[in-house]
Amino acid sequence: MAEFLIETAGLPAWLSWTAIAVLSAVLILNVIAGGALVFIWAERKIAARIQDRLGPTRTGGRFGWLQSLADGIKLLAKEDLMPDGADALLFRIAPYVSFCASFCAFIALPFAFDVVGQRLNVGVFFVVAVLGLEVFGVILAGYASASKWSLFGAMREAAQVVSYEVPLGMCVVVPVMLAGSMDLVTIGEKQAGWGSNWFIFHDPFTFIIFWVYYTCALASVNRAPFDLAEAESELVAGFHTEYSGLRWSFFFMAEYGSMFLVSALAAILFLGAWNGPVPVSQLLGLSDGMAANAPYALRLLGCMNLLLKATVGVLVMMWIRWTLPRLRIDQVMTTCLKYCTPIAAAMFAGVMLWQLFLPGGLVAGSFQNAAGVREGWLEQSNNQESVNEDALSDIVPSRRIVEVSR
């Protein structure tokens, strides 16, 4: 798009790049803030439906759809309190740390083929890493509030999130292994075509590991039944006990932002990303399903697809929240260390073996395996540097495996 501006509008390069950057930032910010508004409304409505009541009905017409906006305005107008003994700087900065972490992770999140803030070669890794930073804001908030309940919340959060990063990382590695790339766009493109191409249906192991991923994601974004950091029946409100007004709402935007983020990540990694279950455009002959020259309408459709999947993920999180009791801290740790981690490790090994023995899936050739991807990369570098093909085959051991498996 920047090229478009440069060429047709005749703007200077720096200006168009800046404009596009600002535009992207505003878009992502709107996804988070607007998303939070919608999700809070949805959470209220869903909770109400689950609990056999109506939820908001008045504000903004029939369905109370302006309720969260009204609440947002109320929060803006609220007095911003800070406890007497609080560490002023840390107390002020903590919500923004959380929010920034959640926000930054969206940079690398692709919404469709090339609708992505910054396509990163290590996209998955970046998103997971940045998401892990959110915990820091929570810890700071808990520490700086000068309240014992907050401190408890912070300690729980620290212990929980650091532990759950282990199985989460293992789960994320599986699609990476299948796609042969950490680039989220590549991972998405690998799942183009029919719904059976989605990684969740790749083999039984990936099917299981998807659920492990979802559990760990639930835990790492602190949603029930893992919402120990704010456990309202034990810790009053945990880490945000002392927060009010806008700062408090930043925590919530961060929470809903990361809920959406992990759901979108689940959609990209396992549920076919922006590809629908039926490759409509391919069947109609509109495009070959790959990026480059796809029309904008297709990208829009892709975005819708991904947003839909991510939203379903978020809705399931809400459903779980309003159904299950909360776990205890030791049980949370047990779930992580005794169940999630070993299962994830076993599934990881399983997927690896599957790749080795059934590289094309049950139906031969339905998948391009990771070894092939690596192969492709090697060949690419060969062509560039024009290295002797035979010499390469001698020295690259992985090549033989690839050939045998073919």
Binding site: R53, F152, L324, P325, R328
Partner: protein, 402 residues
């Protein structure tokens, strides 16, 4: 420090020793069921000591009772266990009737059982729903309140109030049932029966719920007796005492001819032919799960009792009988009576001096003794277990502080 650790068994040491913290849970805390204040001495997440502080709701009810006539004090009993005000009314009325050697009509007797058991269901529903809240699940609370609303509607029809009824009074009731009420009550029972299965799915057999409650806060039968625990707390520990069967004759006479079994867990098995979920493997007799489950059983038991009392009440001919006069003179002498209230054995004591105003009025609260055992149960548990223990005791501060 280490010497103290060696001497005192109660102080718990764990992997990484951290600073001890004194934490105030309450008086304004989401899970202390009113204005209860628990002072926790915590070592990280582990509670090494817990001390309940009470008295935030003290209203001098007993002293007020010595300045009012016996019937005028009925509304004050409403405000003790405000979740089961009918049972409180009943307890006080029976005590004064014992002093007066007065016996209510047969019809009033069945009506009392009907109303009191209905209120017992309402009280247990609150206990159950709020227990879900304590454990972090919100929806069962609203499901419980949905059904409770229906009970409150019924009670409102009877006496015009939804919480503080003052319906059962000395010598009978303030009014008879409105026409058509019995049918509505039966309709409610019929639709309520399947709802209980929902509660079992959402809470009793829910894996996380079981994990949070089974083998937590185990109250041994000996300890339960030592601390004077009563009601579902005592029966949850496997002790087969229910004043409706084992109480004083003036009270048990009320239940003459009623078929019911005391809801108590014997050998981990409840001996009735209703459909109940199996006891989970982790659960030990006397833990939070059992206390909770006993309440669930009592709901079913009360439903049976209500059905029976509806039959008997509608068979009774003749008038209900008027309650005694407001200024009925109390004879010289005293009377003490304990009744089986939803929270436990609620005792009232009255001393008459020949005037209509009692010379002494005292109340013995079941929740008070039940709460007293909480520090023992919470010693060495995690912070998250404190709400689950206190919630399973199901205390009402209005009754403790009076």
């Amino acid at each position: 420090m280490s010497q103290i650790l060696d001497e005192d068994q109660r102080i718990i040491e764990f992997d990484v020793r951290t600073d001890e913290m004194l934490v105030n849970m309450g008086p304004q805390h989401p899970s202390t069921h009113g204005v209860l204040r628990l002072v926790l001495r915590t070592d990280g997440e582990i509670v090494s000591e817990m001390e309940p502080h009470i008295g935030y709701l003290h209203r001098c009810a007993e002293k007020i009772g010595e300045n009012l006539t016996a019937r005028q004090w009925i509304p004050y009993t409403d405000r003790m266990d405000y979740l089961a005000a009918m049972n409180m009314n009943l307890g006080w009325s029976l005590t004064v009737e014992k002093l007066l050697r007065y016996q209510v009509s047969e019809k009033a007797r069945h009506l009392r059982i009907l109303i009191a058991e209905l209120n017992r269901i309402a009280s247990h529903l609150v206990g159950m729903g709020a227990y879900g809240l304590d454990l972090g699940t919100f929806s069962p609370f609203l499901y419980a309140f949905r059904e409770r609303e229906k009970i409150l509607d019924l009670l409102e029809e009877v006496c015009g109030a939804r919480l503080t009824y003052s319906y059962i009074t000395i010598g009978g009731m303030t009014a008879d049932l409105p026409p058509g009420w019995l049918q509505r009550c039966e309709a409610f029972l019929d639709q309520f029966e399947p709802v209980i299965r929902e509660y079992h799915t959402l809470l009793t057999t829910n894996a996380i719920f079981v994990k949070r409650t089974a083998n937590v806060g185990v109250l041994s039968p000996e300890m339960a007796i030592d601390y004077g625990c009563t009601g579902p707390v005592l029966r949850g520990s496997g002790i087969d005492i229910d004043l409706r069967r084992d109480g004083e004759s003036i009270y048990t006479a009320m239940y003459d001819g009623y078929a019911f079994e005391v809801a108590v867990m014997k050998d981990g098995h409840y001996p009735r032919d209703h459909e109940y979920p199996a006891v989970p493997q982790d659960a030990v007799l006397g833990d939070c799960w059992h206390r909770f489950f006993v309440r669930m059983l009592e709901v079913v038991q009360s439903m049976d009792l209500i059905r029976q009392s509806i039959d008997r009440y509608s068979q009774c001919k003749g008038p209900l009988g008027e309650p005694l006069k407001l200024i009925e003179k109390l004879p010289k002498g005293d009377a003490y009576l304990e009744t089986e209230c939803p929270k436990g054995q609620m005792g009232f004591y009255v001393v008459g001096d020949g005037t209509s105003i009692p010379w002494r009025v005292r109340a013995r609260s079941s929740a008070f003794s039940n709460l007293a055992v909480a520090p023992e149960l919470c010693r060495g548990c995690l912070i998250a277990d404190v709400p689950s223990v206190v919630g399973s005791l199901d205390v009402v501060m209005g009754e403790i502080d009076r």
